[in-house]
């Protein structure tokens, strides 16, 4: 893996941004939105102005036209810098869905909105369908001019803040359980949508979402009716790349903070970083981290070359 000069400059720019804007707890808490642990509209807007929210969105749809590599750099550095912009995670997954399966009109509409700062959420898991996506029971019933949606979703990140929610629902029962799923675009403020935040160790970013006789027009189908499962599975590749970038960003931050602490903390008359078990542990962690980073950037480059990394 080797980054180009432009990519290195971009990495430096994101790093400098975080060092300047979100380095301390006081700085981060000062900009947080009310009732949020990890989301700041102020910082999110700054990212939009810098063109970073649409880093991997094509220029024709209002983005900066970068690759998965730039996207990976952005996530790694923002999470390393503890920037309170966690809603960018699900929003980027949604962007990936539109990029790949959206109609021309949907792409213009949604991708431009994302690049300009709209938060979006994706709704796949249900209480009884987690790893087993094909067990989805949330229903979409065809009616004149559109669909009626009913059911419960869970683990929907930032659904409580989303302008649009992409919902995977069962539009028909087929012999094959993977068939008959469809992706719908649902406005966050649509009638019949209720979100309820879930308290976790990582704050309250995820939600239960309840759909009750929620109507969406026919043009809100994203991709093909009944092809939701293969579409979602393909898009999860992109989500996993974001997850990997987030993981190395957080791990790097933990590593940075640990190095600083063991250089500062003294016991037995010396800094604890001089003890062999700690040095060895640091060496092991650095190696693990570098392996994870190489694999992640390699996958980012491969995804750029084709959809099946």
């Amino acid at each position: 893996m080797s980054l180009t000069t432009e990519q290195r400059d971009f990495q430096d720019a994101v790093r400098d941004f975080c060092a300047r804007e979100t380095a301390t707890r006081e700085q981060r808490e000062a900009v947080l939105d009310p009732d949020e642990e990890d989301q700041s509209s102020i910082v999110y807007k700054r990212l939009a102005e810098l063109g970073w929210l649409g880093v991997a969105i094509p220029e024709e749809y209002g983005g900066s036209g970068g690759t998965y590599v730039e996207q990976t750099i952005l996530f790694e550095e923002l999470w390393r810098g503890m920037a309170p912009v966690k809603a960018l995670g699900p929003t980027t997954t949604v962007a990936g869905c539109y990029k790949r399966f959206g109609s021309e009109a949907q792409k213009h509409e949604a991708l431009t909105a994302i690049a300009n700062g709209e938060i979006m959420s994706i709704s796949i898991s249900e209480p009884g369908a987690g790893s087993d996506v094909a067990a989805i029971a949330c229903t979409a019933k065809a009616v004149t001019g559109g669909w009626i949606l009913n059911g419960q979703k869970t683990w929907c990140s930032y659904a409580h803040r989303a302008g649009r929610i992409l919902l995977v629902a069962r539009s028909s029962r087929e012999e094959k359980r993977h068939a008959g799923l469809t992706i719908f675009e649902v406005p966050g403020d649509a009638e019949g949508v209720e979100t309820r935040r879930i308290s976790t160790l990582g704050g309250r970013e995820v939600n239960d979402v309840f759909f009750t006789d929620c109507f969406v027009p026919a043009e809100n189908v994203v991709g093909e009716v009944g092809r939701g499962f293969p579409q979602i599975m393909a898009r999860l590749d992109g989500e996993r790349l974001v997850g990997a970038a987030v993981g190395i960003g957080l791990a790097q931050r933990a590593f940075d903070d640990t190095i600083a602490y063991i250089k500062e903390r003294k016991q037995f008359g010396t800094t604890i970083g001089t003890f062999q078990p700690l040095r060895h542990r640091i060496a092991d962690l650095a190696t693990d981290l570098e392996c994870a980073r190489l694999l992640t950037y390699e996958v980012a480059e491969r995804l750029e070359r084709g959809p099946d990394p």
Partner: protein, 387 residues
């Protein structure tokens, strides 16, 4: 080698299990609010006759030993799924009162009856901001002044600082350097010059404070000396009970995590079956249990081989504690993973169990220090450098 408990020990275990279960529904609120009804917990444990479980009857104890101690705290930890219900056992029979047992008559007569009866409780004031693992580098001083000592220093991580009024305070006597100068003195929170501070907020072991104590020219009568200088090794034999308590924690909490994972994986269905039916899941549960059994053998050996049945030997209890602190957080993390996304939500007990375990890794001796001790025991003719 006989691994079975006596009928009396089995009764004791059953009693502690039942008491532990009675707390289980309350642990969540204690953790969430960081305010536990400490006195009430004390009274409920006392009502079952579990105060002073391993203390001699002449001081009001139950006359049991290290084995009885471990049986009781293990069961309380496991079934309460909280670190708090074992605290009254710790306070009335753990390292604090055991230190008094090694002390002079005056200090025993003055405090030990009250402590064993649960009327007063004692923090262990040992760690300092700049002396954690490097215990022998502590800088709190006790200087003789007539029939008293003048104490100055700063102690941190005093578990129970907002609820207990006594502090078994480790000090350096008359500026004697190294381990030789270290002893312990009882400091009462109400003595002039004692300032107790809230201390940091912890992610685990919540419900009472682990605060700080700043001592400024505190005048303590000489009779409050528990153990004077030159007896550091002796003082540490009482401290081995702290490590046995830690063993009970790891054993109890590992099993609590196992209990939660076993129940959840038999309830949760995916791909049309209970997830325990996936081989990766039942193999994980099998591995967890084997580690728990290995820990049990190490911990109970440490208790069974205790000196006079009371003071665990350093090597045995250190190995057991090191093993517990090594496998414990791995077991609880695995149990959390087996809960899927639900494991990280505050609705489920497993995340609290895991947080308490992460918090406990260094309690009673950091793993690195325990490894120093194990190696020193294996190669007694060598002196390994600490730094």
């Amino acid at each position: 080698v006989d691994f079975s408990l006596t009928p009396e020990q089995q009764d004791l275990q059953a009693c502690a299990e039942k008491l532990g279960r009675s707390f289980a529904d309350e642990a969540r609120a204690w953790d969430a609010s960081d305010e536990a009804p400490y006195r009430e917990i004390f009274d409920r444990v006392g009502a079952e006759g579990l105060f002073g479980i391993a203390m001699p009857t002449e001081y009001g104890g139950q006359g049991g030993g290290a084995l009885e101690y471990l049986i009781v705290v293990e069961a309380l930890f496991r079934y309460a799924q909280s670190w708090l219900p074992p605290e009254p056992v710790f306070c009335t029979s753990g390292p604090g009162p055991s230190m008094f047992l090694l002390g002079d008559h005056a200090v025993k007569d003055k405090y030990l009856h009250d402590i064993v009866a649960g009327r007063r409780a004692c923090n262990i004031a040992l760690t300092e901001p700049d002396a954690g693992s490097a215990l022998t580098h502590l800088t709190t001083t006790a200087v003789r002044d007539g029939d008293a000592f003048i104490i100055n220093g700063h102690k941190s991580f005093l578990t129970g600082s907002n609820v207990n009024d006594l502090n078994a305070t480790f000090v350096r006597f008359d500026d004697v350097p190294g381990a030789k100068g270290i002893g312990a003195v009882v400091v009462e929170a109400s003595m002039p010059g004692v300032e107790v501070r809230r201390g940091p907020v912890f992610i685990g072991d919540r419900g009472v404070h682990h605060g700080e104590m700043v001592l400024t020219d505190v005048r303590v009568p000489a009779e409050n000396v528990i153990v004077g200088p030159g007896q550091f090794a002796r003082l540490m034999t009482a401290f081995n009970l702290e490590r046995l308590h830690n063993c009970g924690f790891w054993l109890g909490f590992s099993q609590a995590a196992y209990d939660e994972a076993a129940a959840y994986t038999q309830r949760r269905e995916a791909f049309g079956k209970q997830i325990i039916e996936f081989q990766a899941v039942y193999h994980s549960l099998a591995d967890m249990w084997v580690q728990i059994e290995a820990l049990r053998l190490l911990a109970y050996r440490a208790a069974a081989s205790a000196i006079e049945g009371r003071f665990p030997k350093l090597a045995e209890v250190t190995q057991a504690k090191l093993f517990g602190a090594t496998v414990g957080p791995l077991i609880t993390l695995k149990a959390m993973e087996l809960h899927g996304g639900y494991g990280a939500t505050t609705d489920f007990a497993i995340q609290r169990i895991h947080r308490d375990c992460v918090t406990n890794v260094v309690a009673g001796g950091a793993p690195a220090v325990l490894r120093n001790g194990v190696a020193a025991g294996l190669f007694p003719n060598r002196r390994f450098p600490q730094a």
